[in-house]
């Protein structure tokens, strides 16, 4: 039996711990415990001098176990493990006692808190004695990256990685990349044209030697783990041979069948064979089966007749492509809230109630009105109301603020003022103009003569009363700054609908084994300090799939996610956690309960060359959560570093009555 020599370090954490727990008393108590050779208290154990204390004590006192009683393992376990490793002590011989989150932060009675800290330290001392050295393993990291979603966040991430000469697969469900941003007219607060600034990036993606663009494609299945994911991509049938098509446009020019254009949010039509917009990347059309006469009635084939390159292929079927990547960046964007869910706003009831996105198309030079702001009957509006917070900041729909509406509402006001002689009412609850140049833009729009009314719109109606002018839309709202309910007659209403998580985000989260927040957006590892990673190693998130954000923030996140992917690529290997699950094949009966309960698909029951089925665990996938060990009916599964005797020793220690 080895001679156990333990060093115990009680951290003050400034006053975080020391103001409630008598740290000196705890250190003194620890020194009385069996096998404890050194016991100290120190102001900040995580500081360099704090760590040096551990390192020098290991050498000087020949320590073979170390305990730091401080914060949570999530905060500093890796710090202290590294300190031990630096002094040639196996990091798994280190143990943490949490006397901050689990003690000083939740108790007020100093005496009882000190007693509890002693208990926690005693439990750690018993446990650390039974801990065993473990070895971490490293495996190679596949340098290819999959990016899902070709909006501005995905495009930015793809270019960052590809420019570093690493392969990117960019998968986009629509026929072209561009996302929501390509539908916008001018962008706040600088008023540069969205298409003008995005199309160069789209073209760069389309021609980049390191980017394999897969549009009109979706992720079908994901297996593997960080550094080694296998992903099956469904390439939906375009009915156009991509390698033959030169994008001449003859097919869509000759196609006689029309459908509402998704790109123009239904305000214009496209053909049954189409590219979503003129600058589409790739410039290769798809056939929409729901509107193509050949698919509906068995005849037409006009596109085929006129295609000089014989690129039309009515027999095409969905194809599946398997790719291998080391990491994945999800940049799947957002859905717009359906404003017709709030009937009192009259969207889809009254012709001249528009959404912000419809306004963007109307205002765009390439849009259905050639950039003219006009009512459905073609008249120029004399008055326009812009309604904020439609489905945002409202517990009946979405409780959160959608973050972009105040600013694009201001931009809408500016564009109306710029292009028409209309009176503009900006109806808001709170103006949130927090970004670079945003407050200045707010001031500019005030200066342009826009009227601001503070209140949440109650109703939009065409029922005029008294001497109100018939034919107008009446916007009913309390101006809360003067405390009076107003009825504003206007010609046009522009609603600012909430940004919501994608309708298929639950499905996508399941495929990539990540979580969503209560509001449906993907959950980041840490909201402040780790915003583009997820708790699943190797799966990164960027842009609006993580929460509503504007273009600058989406671009920043796209680049940040790329940087995280590049750092993993640059390291070239993945370190596997040693505290993982292990199956004793002599005890395993191959029942498969472990397979059922594992959230990470780590255990697999197979014959493995033997006469009976047994389970084995893929250590790269295992997170050491212990679900399988609990579920295993024969006790065949052990989690290294969390063996029953190790845990029970703590329970025993805590159960002892102290004098």
């Amino acid at each position: 039996m080895e001679d156990i020599r333990i060093g115990v370090y009680i951290c003050h954490c400034g006053l975080n711990i020391a103001s409630v727990v008598d740290v000196e008393e705890v250190a003194k108590y620890a020194s009385t415990l069996d096998s404890v050779v050194v016991s100290r208290d120190y102001k900040f154990m995580c500081s360099d001098p704090g760590q040096d204390l551990i390192k020098s004590d290991i050498k000087e006192h020949n320590l073979n176990r170390v305990i730091v009683a401080s914060c949570s393992p999530r905060m500093h376990e890796s710090t202290f493990r590294k300190a031990c490793a630096a002094a040639d002590l196996n990091p798994y011989l280190y143990e943490m006692a949490n006397i901050r989150e689990a003690c000083s932060w939740v108790h007020e009675d100093k005496e009882l808190a000190t007693a509890k800290a002693k208990d926690l330290v005693r439990a750690a001392v018993r446990r650390v004695k039974l801990q065993e050295p473990l070895e971490v393993r490293e495996i190679p990291f596949n340098p290819n990256t999959l990016i899902v979603g070709g909006g501005v966040a995905g495009i930015q991430a793809a270019l960052e990685i590809a420019d570093a000469e690493h392969k990117v697969y960019l998968v986009e469900k629509d026929p072209s990349i561009g996302g929501h941003m390509i539908q916008l007219d001018k962008t706040f607060p600088t008023l540069d044209c969205s298409q003008c600034i995005l199309t160069p990036k789209m073209a760069a993606v389309g021609s980049h030697p390191y980017i394999e663009l897969m549009t009109y494609s979706e992720v079908e299945e994901v297996t593997g783990f960080v550094g080694n994911f296998n992903v099956k991509i469904r390439k939906k049938a375009r009915y156009v041979k991509e390698e033959e098509c030169n994008g001449c446009g003859m097919c869509w020019e000759k196609c006689p069948w029309k459908a509402p254009s998704e790109y123009e949010v239904g305000m214009a039509e496209r053909k049954a064979i189409y590219t979503p917009f003129a600058q589409a990347v790739p410039n290769i059309p798809v056939i929409d089966r729901d509107y193509c006469a050949y698919f509906l009635k068995g005849k037409c084939r006009a596109c085929e007749k006129f295609c000089e390159r014989n690129a039309i292929d009515f027999e095409q079927v969905d194809r599946f492509v398997d790719i291998e990547v080391g990491s994945v960046i999800l940049a799947t964007g957002y859905d717009l809230f359906d404003s017709s869910i709030i009937p009192q706003y009259g969207y889809k009831t009254y012709d001249n109630v528009f959404t912000g996105l419809e306004f963007e198309r109307m205002s765009s030079a390439t849009g259905p009105t050639g950039g003219e702001i006009c009512l459905r009957d073609g008249r120029e509006p004399e008055s326009v109301a812009i309604v904020h917070c439609v489905g945002s900041r409202d517990q009946n729909y979405n409780e959160y603020c959608s973050r972009v509406c105040c600013m694009y509402g201001l931009k809408t006001a500016h564009l109306v003022k710029d292009k028409t002689n209309a009176e503009v009412y900006e109806i808001y609850i709170d103006m949130r103009c927090f970004g670079e140049g945003y407050e200045e833009f707010y001031k500019r729009v005030c200066d342009e003569g826009v009227t601001f009314i503070r209140g949440k719109v109650a109703k939009v109606t065409d029922r005029t009363i008294g001497d109100e002018e018939p034919g107008k839309l009446i916007v009913v709202v309390e101006d809360s700054l003067i405390g009076s309910v107003m009825r504003l007659p206007v010609d046009m209403v522009v609603l600012c609908p909430a940004l919501q998580s994608r309708a298929d985000s639950e499905d996508l989260a399941r495929k990539f084994v990540i979580n969503r927040r209560g509001d449906g957006f993907f959950l980041e590892r840490h909201v402040k300090l780790d915003p583009v990673t997820t708790p699943t190693d190797g799966i990164l998130i960027a842009g609006c799939c993580q929460g509503p954000k504007d273009i600058p923030d989406s671009v920043a996140q796209g680049a940040a996610a790329a940087a995280r992917a590049l750092s993993m690529i640059s390291k070239g290997k993945v370190t596997l956690e040693a505290a993982v699950s292990h199956v004793n094949t002599d005890l395993c009966i191959g029942c498969g309960r472990c397979e059922e309960v594992c959230p990470f698909n780590a255990p697999k029951v197979s014959m493995d060359g033997g006469p009976l089925p047994v389970s084995s665990v893929n250590e790269a996938l295992c997170k050491g959560c212990g679900s399988c060990a609990v579920a295993c009916p024969t006790g065949a599964i052990t989690i290294w570093h969390f063996k029953p005797e190790q845990i029970l020793s703590m329970v025993d220690a805590l159960a002892e009555v102290q004098q």
Binding site: D394, Q395, G455, A458, E478, S480, G483, S484, V485
Partner: protein, 383 residues
């Protein structure tokens, strides 16, 4: 003069104690004011009242405290889920029971009457069952399937009595065994509670619960959505658990089961007015329409504001006992809406609505162009 902005904690505490915790979440968007029907006829800034409550600077003398008809239009859209009616109720409670100011005379007298006589008309308890005597309606016994609780208004008011008569006639027609408790019944107390008189409400509720339990009542059929609301959602707090069904629900069920059949046509254009306590408070929108649609010949038309957005008649929250100026009556606006869509009959499903609309028809001189009927009256005519 600068007003002290230091929150007047005592006032806030009194409101909180009276059950109005809900105002804390208000972020002052004013959607309540914009939604409130009062602003069709005069200014009533609900939002300001919420903020005054937050700061503890409510003027309890202000008549605004007594305006809310508790129609629930604001609560159902409030983005912060503020239970505005609860706040109104507690502000009134501070006046009525803590004595912070004077309760308007008509309301004070009516609640006093209800407390003493068990009904707002101040009629003799013993006469509560008088309407039923010539209608062959029997007292409730252990063998009765249903207790029919008519509400005080049809029981005592000769003009509204037709609701109780039509309902009992339909029940007799389909062969349901039912009865009434007559003198043992008291006002349900719903509006009493909304008017801030929590103690009187509890007394009424306890009396009713005791009477129902002693008589062995299991299932109650009601004509008033106000009785429905309090029996179903509020009596359980006081230990009264009964199966409660509104006449429109019951009729729809009889029609669905084939127990109620029509033999006559009613060739009229009929508009249905959603009572607040049936619709917005209890989500019953479809059953009344289902009943009306099944009447042969009847053409059901919708009013401009219907279902969730129905305009209140003005009679909830104790307003039925208070005088409303002629030019401020919501029921007048509603009646105009009904005339505008060309309705021959405006159908209601609530005795308070009947009082208000009958009055509007008379004062607006429209009795030759439109009739006000309870849904049960139309059903009875078509049988």
């Amino acid at each position: 003069m600068v007003q002290a902005v230091t929150p007047y904690q005592e006032a806030v505490d009194i409101v909180k104690e009276a059950g109005g915790e809900a105002f804390k979440l208000c972020y002052q968007c004013g959607l309540c004011s914009g939604t409130c029907p009062w602003n069709l006829v005069r200014s009533f800034i609900v939002r300001r009242l919420m903020h005054e409550t937050q700061l503890g600077v409510v003027d309890f003398e202000d008549e605004d405290i007594w305006l809310c008809a508790t129609c629930n239009a604001c609560v159902s859209v409030c983005p912060r889920g503020v239970e505005i009616i609860d706040v109104m109720k507690s502000l009134r409670n501070v006046v009525a029971e803590v004595g912070a100011a004077k309760v308007p005379d008509s309301l004070r007298i009516t609640t006093k009457t209800i407390s003493a006589a068990g009904n707002p008309q101040g009629e003799d308890r013993e006469k509560r069952g008088e309407w039923a005597e010539n209608a062959g309606v029997k007292p409730f016994t252990q063998d009765s399937e249903l207790l029919y609780f008519s509400c005080c208004v049809p029981a005592y008011d000769p003009k509204v009595r037709r609701i109780a008569l039509a309902t009992s006639s339909i029940l007799q027609n389909v062969g349901v065994t039912f009865g009434i408790l007559g003198a043992k019944e008291s006002c349900c107390g719903e509006s009493v509670r909304k008017a801030g008189n929590e103690t009187i409400f509890q007394g009424l509720a306890e009396d009713n619960i005791k009477a129902f339990e002693e008589s062995g009542v299991k299932k109650i059929l009601v004509s008033s959505p106000h009785c429905y609301h309090t029996f179903k959602n509020e009596y359980p707090e006081l230990g009264g658990n009964f199966e409660v069904v509104h006449s429109t629900q019951y009729l729809a069920e009889l029609i669905r089961d084939g127990k109620l059949k029509f033999s006559k046509e009613i060739n009229k254009k009929v508009a249905y007015h959603d009572p607040c306590y049936l619709g917005r408070h209890n989500n019953i929108y479809d059953e009344p329409r289902e009943v009306l649609k099944s009447i042969p010949g009847l053409e059901l038309i919708e009013l401009p504001d219907n279902r969730e957005q129905a305009l209140c008649c003005g009679g909830g929250g104790g307003r039925i006992w208070m005088e409303t100026k002629k030019e401020e009556r919501f029921s007048d606006i509603r009646l105009e809406q009904a005339l505008e869509v060309g309705a021959d009959i405006l159908v209601i499903a609530c005795p308070y609505c009947m009082l208000n609309f009958d009055d509007s028809v008379l004062t607006m001189g429209k009795s030759d162009v439109i009739e006000i009927k309870d849904i049960t009256e139309l059903v009875q005519e078509a049988i």
